[in-house]
């Protein structure tokens, strides 16, 4: 990698003011990988890992908060989170390997950059890296998106984003001098709109914590990968709903690894409202979610996987 400076700020404002010249560093799983591959070469790394308040999990009450620097492993093994937001815990348990989960943070998982193998290829400069071409669209696109808004078809691969979207979590971001709150859709909207964007965060936007409303909803997460563990999801699915017997209310179904955003279709959420879940209903929800799927040459198989996952994840909610 290219040489860089390293600084540990005292507080969030201090971090934000330094970051205009560099990148935030927390677990480092993603940014160090990009630096080693010369995809990015920041002049300064701003170590935010130890910022006050960003490593806490605050439970109880109507809104639970998880600091941006809480490790994925800490989420995976937190008994209260496991009980109240099982979908989040299941998503965390599928991230990388135990070694990665021990180091990777919630904020880093949400803000991670594209895993597209063209984007990561050291001798290519794809559109996401400022080049002219998306090589994936007419190339080897088995891992790419079924839905896209712009030229980049690299999908969002954060497991946690998918689970948190279903739980309608929000992200508190220090932007400029103040804290702003983004929904998960807002956190990724820019990746849908702009080819070079991985998410909606600007270079000096610092994630502080996420907030999850404890609305008495069940949640579930499932993914299918090529390998049993330590593999990216080909498709992931999270769902959350209030459940009365088999009757769902306030349901949210979200897909991952199929779009540059955590993909959901409001009509499907509405369809489920107040209804008893059965296979036919789940299949109709899946059809609504996948209605606009636009498979490429090699990723059509994601459609049947997504259908199965939507059905299974919804069934897991009522099980």
């Amino acid at each position: 990698m290219n040489s860089f400076q390293y600084v540990t700020p005292r507080n969030a404002d201090n971090a934000v003011s330094l970051a205009s010249d560099g990148r935030f560093l927390a677990g480092g799983i993603d940014v160090l990988g990009e630096m080693k591959d010369y995809i990015v070469s920041p002049r300064l790394l701003v170590n935010v890992k130890g910022l006050p308040g960003t490593q806490d999990i605050v439970v109880g009450g109507e809104v639970w908060t998880i600091g941006a620097n809480v490790t994925v492993a800490a989420i995976e093994h937190h008994e209260d989170l496991k009980r109240v937001f099982p979908g989040l815990q299941q998503a965390a348990a599928e991230v990388g390997s135990p070694q990665i989960r021990n180091v990777a943070t919630l904020g880093g998982n949400l803000a991670q950059h594209s895993r597209c193998w063209y984007y990561r290829q050291r001798d290519l400069r794809c559109a996401k890296r400022g080049g002219d071409t998306c090589y994936a669209r007419d190339g080897e696109n088995k891992y790419h998106s079924l839905f896209s808004g712009g030229p980049c078809i690299s999908p969002l691969v954060s497991n946690l984003a998918v689970a948190l979207a279903a739980l309608e979590a929000t992200v508190v971001v220090r932007r400029g001098g103040k804290d702003v709150t983004l929904t998960i859709p807002e956190l990724y909207q820019k990746a849908w709109d702009e080819v070079t964007a991985h998410n909606s965060l600007g270079p000096t936007d610092l994630m502080l914590r996420i907030q999850i409303p404890n609305a008495g909803r069940r949640s579930a997460y499932q993914q299918v990968s090529e390998k049993a563990i330590f593999d990216w999801a080909l498709v992931s699915c999270a769902a959350a709903a209030k459940v009365d017997g088999r009757k769902l209310s306030h349901a949210r179904v979200v897909l991952g690894a199929v779009a540059p955003i955590a993909y959901q279709v409001e009509a499907a959420n509405e369809l489920l409202e107040g209804k008893e879940l059965d296979d036919a209903l789940a299949a109709r929800a899946a059809d609504l979610i996948l209605k606009d799927a636009d498979p490429l040459a090699h990723n059509g198989y994601k459609v049947p996987i997504a259908q199965a996952l939507i059905r299974r994840t919804l069934n897991q909610l009522v099980a």
């Binding site: 990698m1 040489s3 010369y38 895993r115 193998w117 063209y118 290829q121 050291r122 001798d123 290519l124 090589y135 007419d138 190339g139 080897e140 088995k142 891992y143 299918v224 090529e226 390998k227 049993a228 563990i229 330590f230 593999d231 990216w232 080909l234 498979p295 040459a297 090699h298 059509g300 198989y301 459609v303 049947p304 996987i305 259908q307 199965a308 996952l309």
Partner: protein, 695 residues
């Protein structure tokens, strides 16, 4: 003539590796761990184009990078680049970062040329040529016997299929490379190699020095699988850098580089037609096949070359056969010998069509094999294996398993040659009773060092831990490369001969009839001051060739997601006299796991448009992890009368075929291509349109 003891006390038991404790504590030094005083990092500058005409390389700026001590171009003057990652230059410096910085300021003047990296495009007549004077697609190699057309016309049943296998990379956990010190006094090379003597020969010839000046050491080694016999381009460059810098240079490839230029298992595209009588006797076979070994096959080595050819109709004799096999050159790294070269490719195609035939005949697949397999050993193994596996209970008509997650079973067979050959050894018995056995073989991770200790311990009536086995050094008596499953059959007889001679000599010197076990120390004491050193060598009659094996696989396939879970693999394997059951079973386990990777996960992915490798890492070049590995049951036929036979290769051959047949049995439709990915399972089930080149 020597013969193995009929009632051995050490041979054939479960003996832990003698170097085990040093490996688990980290004390064991691999070639990549060696750090001679003043060593420098070495790194290679590689072509970023799949094809180009290079007119000039300017290394001046690289030379000036702080910490850089040597810079060298692979070749001066104009040259043609034929694959992405071809070596252009190398640098050595005091830190890895210095080398990385230097690589980034090397200037190359080059004109990119048209290229073709994927087989189906490269074989078109109008495709850019990899080699200017030859079409990419070769004339087929034709082998024909009998009257094939008549035999098909007369056959009661004919089945046809098109099967494809991917490029598999060796991916040893220890990457390719060497630590080399070139001085006026001579050259020392710590090599990650399967052949210390072949590395010595390669280095001596590369540097134009006499072989006695070159010493090659391989103390511990992290896997090669056929791809590590010579010093390689990387070894030659490390030696040149060391010579220029006047310091040792450690040049180990990165994981990225492992995917580019150090070999692979060639791909195959196999059109197969098979005819049989109504009662299942094979009568006619026809194959039209091609595959690629990249820009060409690697240098032929022990265990076979790395070409795209493979045996057909593999283990089954068919009276009327017509086989046409061609190879197609592409702009990609060369093929090299890879654990049982050609055989897993052959087994997958042939065993797949055999099961298609069984289905059409409505015959049990094991029965079809018993009817056609000429090997008495393999027929016995099928019978033993079917019993242990519960084949009769588990085998159901294809696709008849109920529910969403379907189960299936399959089987496949394998053959391998192996055999022993010239190896020498020496034993030094010290007056204090300690024993050193020295042999210039190398332990590539398979347990060779432990075999040396076991055989010596057997002869002397000692326990293996009392033997110091020294291997992996060209200063020891010569032994061949560890390839072709020849090592155990070469080394064990040599150690046995050497130790038997030493035992006789010790009896004589000590004037004792029995110097074994409890008499050992007393006898050695009578040697006086000087140790006893005795030489010996490989002898006929203690080893043989020809290993037969069969495997059974049981799978679960999720028909909604395409996910395949292998539940169990059972292997029945013959490898003659088993010297150490523990390392033998370990070898078989490793072979099966590698076969599992070939069946389900592994594939080098090239990009047709840009010519680069898209998955040069373990993130997207997928290897089995623990959770993917099934229950493995290993049944070893112990046939001591056959002598020692290697087992490294045969165990990896039939795994993919057995798994593919199990998947087909579960689904009722076949996935005809490796790796069997969720995408391909769903395509076979008709749930999506078929995909192209990528899995």
């Amino acid at each position: 003539m020597l013969s193995w003891p009929t009632n051995p006390t050490v041979i054939g038991k479960y003996t832990p590796r003698v170097e085990g404790p040093s490996k688990v504590t980290g004390a064991a030094k691999y070639s990549s761990d060696v750090q001679p005083t003043g060593w420098l990092y070495g790194m290679i500058f590689r072509a970023p184009w799949p094809a180009a005409k290079v007119t000039r390389i300017n290394l001046d700026r690289a030379r000036k990078v702080r910490g850089i001590k040597a810079v060298v171009a692979v070749r001066d003057g104009e040259r043609t680049i034929r694959f992405y990652g071809e070596e252009l230059a190398a640098v050595a410096g005091t830190s890895k970062q210095a080398c990385l910085d230097a690589l980034r300021v090397i200037e190359v003047e080059a004109t990119p040329l048209p290229f073709a990296v994927n087989e189906e495009l490269a074989k078109r007549a109008d495709a850019p040529r990899v080699w200017p004077d030859t079409p990419n697609l070769s004339e087929p190699n034709v082998r024909e016997k009998g009257d094939v057309d008549k035999a098909f016309a007369d056959a009661a049943v004919v089945v046809e299929g098109f099967f494809t296998t991917q490029i598999q990379l060796h991916q040893p956990l220890e990457t390719h490379g060497n630590t080399i010190s070139v001085t006026n006094d001579g050259i020392t090379c710590w090599a990650s190699t399967q052949g210390v003597f072949s590395v010595r020969e390669g280095l001596a010839s590369h540097l134009n020095v006499s072989q006695e000046k070159v010493r090659v050491i391989t103390d511990n080694m992290g896997g090669g699988f056929g791809s590590k016999f010579g010093p390689g381009v990387e070894g030659g460059l490390a030696a040149q850098l060391s010579k220029i810098a006047g310091a040792p240079v450690k040049l180990m490839l990165t994981r990225f580089e492992e995917s580019l230029a150090v070999g692979n298992r060639p791909s195959s595209f196999q059109n197969i037609k098979l005819g049989a009588t109504a009662d299942g006797k094979l009568v006619a076979f026809e194959m039209n096949a091609y595959g690629t070994a990249g820009i060409g096959a690697g240098t032929a080595t022990a265990g076979g070359g790395g070409g795209a050819g493979f045996p057909a109709p593999y283990i089954y004799p068919v009276p009327n056969t017509r086989v046409k096999q061609a190879h197609v050159a592409v702009n990609a790294g060369e093929g090299r010998a890879f654990r049982a070269p050609g055989h897993p490719v052959a087994s997958f195609g042939m065993e797949s069509i055999m099961d298609e035939l069984a289905v059409k005949l409505n015959m049990d697949p094991v029965e079809l094999r018993l009817k056609n397999d000429p090997s008495e050993v393999r027929r016995r193994e099928y019978t033993i294996g079917a019993e242990r596996f519960g084949w009769k209970q588990k085998y159901k008509p294809p696709g008849s398993s109920p529910g969403t997650i379907k189960t299936g079973v399959g089987c496949a067979g394998a053959t391998w040659g192996g055999g022993g050959r010239g190896t020498q050894a020496e034993v030094q018995i010290n007056p204090d009773g300690s024993v050193e056995v020295r042999c210039g073989t190398q332990d590539i991770g398979t347990g060779t060092r432990t075999l040396v200790a076991i055989v010596a311990a057997e002869v002397f009536g000692l326990s293996p831990e009392r033997i110091t086995a020294r291997v992996g050094d060209t200063q020891f008596p010569p032994s061949g490369g560890s390839g072709g499953s020849t090592t155990a059959a070469s080394v064990c007889p040599a150690i046995y001969d050497t130790c038997t001679r030493a035992l006789a000599e010790l009896q004589k010197r000590a004037a004792m009839d029995d110097v074994h076990g409890s008499n050992w120390k007393g006898a050695c004491k009578k040697l006086g001051v000087n140790p006893l050193v005795v030489h010996g060598e490989w002898q006929e009659g203690l080893s043989s060739s020809g290993a037969a094996g069969v495997q059974f696989a049981e799978v679960e396939v999720d028909t909604e997601t395409g996910f395949v879970k292998v539940k169990k693999v059972l292997c029945v394997q013959d490898c003659g006299l088993i010297v150490n059951k523990l390392t033998c079973e370990s070898q078989v386990n490793g072979g099966i796991i590698m076969g599992l990777g070939y069946a389900l996960y592994e594939q080098r992915v090239m990009d047709s448009a840009t010519g680069v490798v898209l998955n040069p890492n373990f993130e997207t070049y997928k290897l089995p992890s623990f959770a993917d590995i099934p229950e493995i049951e290993v049944v070893l036929l112990d046939l001591p009368e056959r002598g020692v036979i290697g087992v490294g290769e045969p165990a990896t051959i039939p795994t993919a075929g057995a798994i593919a047949n199990a998947v087909a049995n579960a689904l009722g439709v076949r996935v005809p291509s490796l790796p069997i990915s969720p995408a391909r399972v769903l395509a076979a089930l008709g749930k999506i349109k078929p995909t192209g080149a990528a899995a």
